[in-house]
């Protein structure tokens, strides 16, 4: 794995919400323990984020609430536009493009063909008024699948793979349990073989046994498809089970990065030490 083998590279990514003032940068950040400027109220969600994501790897992003990890994921999903910086993406043919420069139409096309996302709250990732099958089919329909029976077969295939009862394909999401809804989201995300799967706090609302089954499923998918995943979680246990490499975020900045085991066993930054000692 060389440095030139990356799939996704974030370069000096910035995102803030608010008017900004001359003292902003001095008064915020991990060193002062604040994301929100006390003078002008600007929230510095992501500051100077640099990272590489290699094809086939799972990268964990941990950090407390408000550390900017979900903002980072939303920017990679192209749902939030960064204020500055680049999101480089390497296509299968080796060409590299900056996703920040895509227009709305291209953005949607890219998202529909390359990205899959699983959100913490299923109602964000699913349309609760459509059937479960319809939700999974949406991805296929967006990818120009126009043969109804083939869409049905593929949807059933995905449901079997994600351990959902195929006979409930036409049921409404509201009749499904939390763990099953997460699996519906995973089925939807996998429908068109995405290049990159984004996971945002996927197991946060689930009880421990259901959480274990969802993580098992993701591990199997990762193993079978060599799927590249970006995993955001505040739960170190989840990150340890899935991610080989982890970055730790605090107040909008990356404060530590490395192999997951290394970070959990031998945390360097005081904040990471606190995080590890309080979680494990």
């Amino acid at each position: 794995m060389t440095m030139e083998n990356w799939l996704l590279r974030l370069e000096r990514l910035h995102k803030h919400f608010g008017p900004t003032c001359p003292d902003c940068r001095r008064l915020t950040g991990p060193d002062v323990g604040r994301s929100r400027c006390p003078r002008c109220g600007t929230v510095w969600a992501c500051v100077d984020i640099n990272l590489h994501l290699y094809a086939g790897e799972v990268l964990g992003i941990v950090g407390e609430s408000g550390s900017g990890k979900s903002t980072l994921l939303q920017m990679v999903y192209l749902a939030l536009r960064p204020d500055s910086g680049h999101i480089w993406f390497r296509e299968a043919d080796g060409t590299v493009c900056d996703l920040v420069t895509l227009d709305r139409y291209e953005t949607r096309l890219f998202r529909n063909t390359r990205l899959g996302i699983v959100c913490q709250r299923p109602e964000l990732g699913l349309n609760m008024r459509f059937s479960v099958g319809g939700n999974v089919a949406e991805k296929l329909l967006l990818a120009e699948w126009r043969h109804f029976d083939r869409i049905r077969v593929r949807t059933l295939e995905l449901m079997t793979r994600t351990e959902l009862p195929p006979e409930r394909i036409d049921d409404e999401p509201a009749t499904f349990s939390g763990g099953m809804l997460q699996r519906v989201q995973i089925a939807k995300a996998l429908a068109i073989h995405p290049t990159l799967l984004l996971l945002d706090e996927i197991t946060s609302g689930l009880d421990v046994s259901v959480q274990a089954r969802v993580l098992d499923l993701l591990r199997r998918i990762q193993w079978e498809d060599r799927m590249t995943m970006l995993l955001v979680s505040h739960d170190l246990g989840v990150v340890r089970q899935l991610a080989r490499r982890t970055i730790v975020m605090k107040n909008g900045a990356i404060i530590e990065a490395g192999l997951t085991d290394q970070i959990l066993e031998d945390p360097q930054h005081p904040y990471t030490q606190l995080l590890v000692s309080s979680a494990l």
């Binding site: 139409y105 953005t107 949607r108 349309n127 459509f130 059937s131 319809g134 126009r146 043969h147 109804f148």
Partner: protein, 288 residues
């Protein structure tokens, strides 16, 4: 048919600035086939929802030399058609006709005439609800974004669910169509029967929604494709063996109505396009 011209009003009722603004929106609509163009829908002596969108388009494009035909559900003599025709003729003095071939502007609701239209004719449709995405996205702002990104996944899921629930694409009217391979458009309450007439037509089709303040257009020779699946294709209402009880036509859109007689009455299917039906009967009589 003619009604005397009322000199009290400006030609075609609307003031010249209003007509100009509507024509400008029409030009934009023609340039972007199927795209919903906002316009300042004026107050008219007719309630919103009674065809004010179509009426305003007709009023803005009509000239004294035009020949006008107004139909409602295919019928020249229904209340809505009669009233709109009277208003237009009273304020413009143009000639009116029931003959589709003779008309230069045809204002219609719910139907496209059976006879194929020509390049020198304009069909103006009255639209009750302009945006097809309202079925899946009630928020107008979000629907506008979906249009701008050509994000019609939700609409396709709606079609998918229609097949799941009903076993077929069960949409009686207002069938969603994709115009020029770009914009999703509501075909208005025309029956499925008339949808293929929009595709690669010689005629300019203008759509006006007065209450929703939107104008859109299908220019001549534009690709208009109904949403459909390869294995569940779009189909018109045609049933083999169907026949107009009056003129005997087997290739027209029929309406069913109850005819009372001594024996209690019966259901009868007749041509929805009454002028076309009458002409076929006249031709048949002439041959006898």
């Amino acid at each position: 048919m003619s009604t005397s011209l009322d000199r009290l009003y400006n030609f075609a009722l609307l003031d010249e600035d209003a007509k100009r603004e509507i024509r400008r929106s029409l030009l934009k609509a023609v340039a972007l086939p199927g795209h919903l163009v906002p316009f300042a829908s004026r107050d008219l002596p007719i309630a919103r929802g009674w065809g004010t969108g179509g009426l305003q388009i007709t009023m803005s494009i009509i000239t004294p030399d035009d020949t006008l035909k107004v139909i409602d559900q295919g019928d020249d003599d229904s209340v809505n058609a009669v009233n709109l025709r009277r208003l237009i003729t009273r304020t413009t003095g143009v000639n009116t006709t029931v003959d589709t071939a003779e008309a230069t502007i045809i204002q219609t609701r719910h139907r496209i005439p059976e006879e194929s239209l020509r390049a020198d004719q304009i069909l103006v449709l009255q639209v009750p609800m302009a945006d097809p995405l309202r079925w899946v996205e009630p928020n107008l702002e979000r629907a506008t974004v979906m249009h701008s990104e050509a994000n019609y996944g939700k609409m396709w899921v709606y079609m998918y669910e229609s097949v799941v629930r009903a076993g077929d694409l069960r949409i009686a009217s207002q069938y969603p169509v994709l115009v020029n391979r770009r914009y999703l458009m509501d075909s208005t309450p025309i029956p499925r029967w008339d949808v293929p007439k929009l595709h690669m037509a010689e005629t300019l089709y203008l759509f006006g929604a007065g209450r929703e303040k939107r104008i859109y257009a299908v220019p001549p020779y534009t690709i208009v494709e109904p949403l459909q699946f390869d294995d569940y294709p779009f189909r018109t209402e045609y049933q083999p063996g169907q026949r107009c009880a009056r003129c005997g036509a087997e290739h027209t859109f029929l309406t069913h109505h109850f005819v009372a007689d001594a024996g209690g009455g019966r259901w009868e299917a007749t041509c929805s396009d009454t002028a076309y039906c009458a002409r076929r009967r006249a031709q048949a009589e002439a041959l006898l």
